[in-house]
Symmetry: C2
């Protein structure tokens, strides 16, 4: 498919690690790293300010992974990272529970300076991606401020407070996407959803990663209305999340912790549900929801596994209009 002139135009709705891995697979499966074919709409609900610097963890995980710089062991951050700044910040009395490596920090320094100079997040994201040799187009869902707040038994906390500082140990009782009501889709976002041939919802957390994308006015409607063939990959495999708190979040919010539970969330938004072979038995109940089902190995390890899954998705949903 790499050099096929008939490669489809693909848009991926992505959160962090799962989104980054599938983005990488798609970039490998599409011509020229997805330069002309791949747009990724990225989550900004988990953005945070640390030490006065704006950190966009999901955008950066996608960007670093596409650049081949991601630390595959940890799933986030950069390979060969050092911590000179963070160690000194601790010495200066700063609270350093949010780990920032030196290379990663350079991203945040550039982004923060750009935003303070009035450059939109989408523009500086494009600039950073270009500098790192990323060919696909990474679009923050909005240039406006949007912050996921998490209601827990301990009260309402900012997303990274929940996710990193408290290590997502709290039950998630509710979510608020602060700023979403008035956020405007960043330039190119609605077009990326509407004007594409394949729309993929990454195996990201439906509530913590995908919902803040859909919460931006216009995005959910664009997803409903697009003529693209739409497929979602379940982040739940065998009743468990591959990574992160997706299982707990589904459970505490009253949903079945399974690919079927995820499929119910996406009914009306996608045409095809991609589930792991471990969940083959759920194919029929999912079909009963009116969705097509693709059953395959959804576990993406290294680049080869990512590319394989991407190719299977593209083959299964095809470039044909629904």
């Amino acid at each position: 498919m790499d050099s096929s002139p008939s490669a489809p135009r693909v848009t991926l709705l992505a959160g962090g690690v799962g989104g980054a891995r599938l983005a990488h697979g798609l970039a490998l499966a599409l011509p020229d790293g997805g330069a002309e074919h791949l747009r990724i709409v990225g989550n900004v609900g988990d953005d945070t300010e640390r030490h006065g610097l704006l950190v966009s963890p999901d955008l950066d995980t996608v960007m670093y992974t596409l650049a081949g710089l991601n630390d595959e062991q940890r799933g986030w951050g950069l390979t060969g990272e050092t911590y000179g700044v963070l160690d000194q910040l601790a010495r200066l009395g700063e609270d350093t529970w949010f780990t920032l490596g030196d290379k990663d920090l350079a991203t945040h320094v550039v982004r923060t300076a750009a935003l303070r100079d009035g450059e939109p997040l989408s523009a500086v994201t494009a600039r950073l991606c270009a500098a790192l040799g990323v060919h696909a187009t990474l679009l923050p869902v909005t240039d406006d401020r949007l912050r996921t707040l998490v209601d827990t038994p301990a009260g309402r906390v900012a997303f990274q407070e929940y996710f990193v500082r408290r290590q997502h140990a709290d039950a998630v009782l509710g979510l608020t996407f602060d700023g979403a009501d008035t956020a405007r889709p960043a330039p190119g976002v609605l077009a990326a959803v509407r004007d594409t041939e394949v729309l993929v919802v990454a195996p990201s957390n439906p509530f913590l990663s995908v919902e803040p994308l859909l919460a931006v006015p216009g995005v959910r409607d664009a997803l409903r209305a697009t003529s693209a063939r739409r497929v979602a990959v379940s982040p739940i495999v065998g009743g468990r999340a591959l990574k992160g708190p997706a299982a707990q979040v589904l459970e505490t919010l009253g949903h079945e912790v399974s690919a079927l539970g995820v499929a119910r969330l996406y009914t009306g938004l996608v045409d095809v549900m991609c589930v792991d072979e471990a969940d083959a038995a759920l194919a029929d109940p999912i079909r009963d929801l009116g969705l097509d089902v693709v059953v395959t190995d959804t576990i993406m390890g290294g680049p080869a596994g990512r590319e394989r899954l991407a190719r299977e998705l593209l083959t299964a949903v095809g470039p044909a209009p629904r």
Copy 2:
């Protein structure tokens, strides 16, 4: 003198390296690192923004030197420094002619965040000094914006553009201390100059380091009016600057490049001129200006040499009122 209850209260007007070394000597010569006895009024005219971060090179050189963290080989920056952020900034397309180490950058990150949160420069400076174990009081001359601009044959440039990027190779045709007219002395600055027993002008560049201190309204008058015994150490030894462009600047601005030339600049502002043994022959011409003269070895190498010079200055000018 270390434990003497009669140790004088000392205020040092300081620029970068020369000021930092004499500050260190005074901190060693005074009880408890100068905790109760030493105030340093630091230059902010060479402050700059790099990558959106406020850098205060002179304040930091003093702070790092007092903390024992200064890189003695280079004269600036921190020992054991790494450059993870800077290398990545270059990769991201940033212009990295101004070298920022990772540890150093932590200082700028904290300072920038504090200033953006409305904390005055003097307050965050005190906080940083405390975190690094600096006992003496380091006061930026002003919390307001003050920037030294340098007129060169190539036009007017910002100080670090002249000093670092163009490696102070240009003739200095004139200086502007942008913002000085309306700058207010930081809290404690005028009291440090007025209400002290010994006032030392460091062997810093008279035009690039000391003049921006005096340009802040009230500081020059306080120096003229203080009852402290005032001594300046010549940064020119044997007709040459120990470090930096002091000689060239004196020359292009029409002054004699010698300790006598420096003494002429400080006439009316100090009581005593301290010159190096190499300039013993200038003692009489300097006395003819109405100044007392101390002749000693003014070359400060390591801590021992700094402490020796500090002790000699304190002995020579004494705690007695003039």
